[in-house]
Amino acid sequence: MNHPFTNAAWKKTSRIRRIILIIIILTTTVVACLFMSNILPHKGSTGLEVAMVLVFGALFAWISIGFWMATAGFATLMRKYDRFAITSTCLENHRRGELSGRTAILIPICNEDVERVFTRLKITYQSLEATGKLQHFDFFILSDSTDPDSWVEEEAAWAEVNQTLGAANRIFYRHRRVNIKYKSGNIADFCRRWGKNYHYMIVFDADSLMTGSTLIRMVQVMEQNQSVGILQTAPLGFNRESVLARVQQFSNHVYGPIFGAGLNFIQLGDSHFWGHNAIIRVAPFMKHCSLPRLSGKPPLGGNILSHDFVEAALMRRAGWEVWLAYDLEGSYEEMPPTLLEELKRDRRWCQGNIQHMRLLFSKGLFPAHRVLFLHGAMAYVSALLWFLFLSLSTAEAILEVVRVPDYFPVMRSLFPTWPVWHPQWALTLLASTGIILFLPKFLSLLLIIFRQKRSREFGGVIKLFLSVMAEIVFSFLFAPIRMLFHSKFVFITLMGRQVGWTSQQRSEHETSWREAIRFHGLGMALGCIWGTVLFFMNRSFFWWNTPIIVPLILSIPLSVLSSSTRLGKFFQNLGLFLIPEEINPPRELQLLQTTIQNQKTFFAPIPIPLKEGFTRAVVDPKVNALHRSLLEGKRKLMPSIIKRRQEFLEKALTQGPKTLSPKEKKELLLDPQCLLQLHERLWETLDHMIAQKWGFPPERNSL
């Protein structure tokens, strides 16, 4: 039976739960620190050892948060009923009723793979259409693309989708010439132009896919709970072939639910916003969530990069609730295909999350959101702390070998003080750390096998168990590599070096050996030097550290092999890392697979690749006309600009499109007159060489 809850109840409960969580974490951390100090040669009495214990304490507290959250999530899911699950407030009679508010589905993109974006849009549209409630939704592709080819490709894809789906006046496209404030600015621009037309907006990422029923359900929950400002779903990974991405989407499916339930257990109405696969109430968002520019220069000043956490905090500050609908299915996203892509993304997130530390003490924010800022930053700072801990422990191990033991540290002592090491204490500490790290994984396994009885969806009990074991090996192997990169990211962010906001490479591609050597070479060298020094100076300490040293030495082959789609398929054939969507794919994912297989890459009859948007805008009369008509009204130009554009036009006509820089292409695309002139003159040209440079087939063979 479902009970709608009152605001007061969750607030009181969340306070009690959070106090208990803090007490448990502090207690376990203090105990672990005492153990640690006892293991150390001088029982934590030297400056070096005090520093080690402090860093260890911070790290232990950090991993305990995840452990206790997962335990809470496990208990919640074992009970099978959560009084505070936001979806349980959506009653059956309301589910059958009509939606009253209008919803905009926003797809902000920036130089993305256009085919992928529009395929997902098409599938979401069709899925929504099948629910019979399409009339309540509009789609907006909000482009910030700076690449002229992508810009034209997006316009052509928009026209094609509109025509195929018959979706005129339901799917809209907007291109921003200047992408101020990146994604948050893109969304804000939508709100300023059309926000007043909608009650809710559902924000997608370029790789998001959501089913129609899930979208409807999200709106229903918002309508049922008028105090909710943001409702975040927990997107599941799907559709990947490389080893690393498959491992991640598997862990996302297996461990994600208990961590999601755990997060909800602690946060309740003070939850996260992850920037996509979430529904937002537009009016309060427009009123309270506009982001200011931080004083000072980037990376710590300037525009707020990771806008989502801040928007959630601002929404909450204004009194609106932010909830995680952890049990809502049908929300998907894709994992980065390679380790390098993941690290590139992490570098952006790292900078954004560290920037949040500047807002930590901002007036009016709720304590829970201050903790979220801290938590976000710790996700990366913890890597630096781990690196620091390893450095300190290595220094201690070397010092122990170099230094002459002092058997009489206390003056006038009758008896010597022998340096005693307790390996059983070290093992106990190691075991308890292992439990904290890996128990949540086994709890997830138990939940799937015994409570939810869903092991068949993962290939059966044995394959599921083997997949979890293999995933643990993978996480062991990749943790030191990630640690090294994250430490570097934190360090260079704090040193004031900025990161660019480039688009993510989301399609499947493999890491080349050259690329891997370039990115991991230094880490491998560090692993080799560190290992050699320890091997010769303190052999026993070396063996203790092999789980960290070996992956660092193997980082190059690990990065290359983990990006392999062939190896990924091999594991899939073995029945490892399977996810329910692969065993029994929902209709939307089946459609996606079919569409991907039938993708065309050229436009007929002139063989210009679809990705060469600028060339298409010049050659293809339809694309040319479409692009010109979508350009906003006529502008009066300065004579110098007209002259410059005319020069670009002549250059394009005499040398072909490949000689133009992106900036020159963009200038021509911005000028409808120039583009029409270019189109007409090209089709009238007598020079076959030039025509072929623009993609025309040789005259004789064309027909």
Partner: protein
């Protein structure tokens, strides 16, 4: 029938009897270009041939007036004029030609709904909060210490601390 057989001539009735090699190369070239253009617009083959022939015919006539202008240029210009006239009719005949409307009706297309302007300005947010936090904390501490009893205890504590520091070797 190959497409070369259907090049544009002054007399369409005898086109089946003419051989391709008798057609002047500039005319063949113009025909190819015009036909290709129509293909990119998804015009059905038969209709495309008909339009191409017509365009070439007009181009032939026009060329007499504009001596020196290349035939391809004239043919393409003639085709564009023809398309503006004929596309609305063509569109009714075939579904595949719907996309052609994009070419014909340039000014009518918009990818965005009408604007309904709202505003979105940032709420007041402390941009250097750590400084405010520090000042706020110091003020609070000062407010607490300024109470007589607490000030006395604080003073004693400072005194003990000072004595301890002085005596400590």
């Amino acid at each position: 029938m190959s497409l070369l057989d259907s090049f544009g001539t002054d007399n369409p009735t005898d086109q089946c009897e003419r051989k391709p090699d008798l057609v002047p190369p500039y005319r063949q070239e113009a025909f190819h270009r015009v036909f290709l253009y129509l293909q990119t617009l998804n015009v059905p083959e038969e209709k495309a041939r008909e339009l191409a022939r017509e365009a070439l015919q007009i181009a032939g006539n026009n060329q007499k007036d504009t001596a020196g202008s290349p035939f391809i240029t004239e043919a393409m210009r003639a085709l564009r004029e023809l398309l503006v006239e004929q596309l609305p009719l063509l569109r009714k005949e075939s579904f595949s030609l719907k996309s052609v409307s994009l070419y014909e009706n340039l000014s009518g297309i918009s990818s965005m709904p009408p604007l309904n302007r709202g505003f979105m300005s940032p709420d007041a947010m402390d941009l250097i909060p750590w400084r405010t936090f520090l000042v706020r904390s110091l003020k609070r501490a000062a407010a607490i210490v300024s109470r007589p009893l607490i000030f006395f205890i604080f003073f004693i504590f400072l005194l003990i601390f000072f004595v301890y520091l002085t005596l400590w070797r």
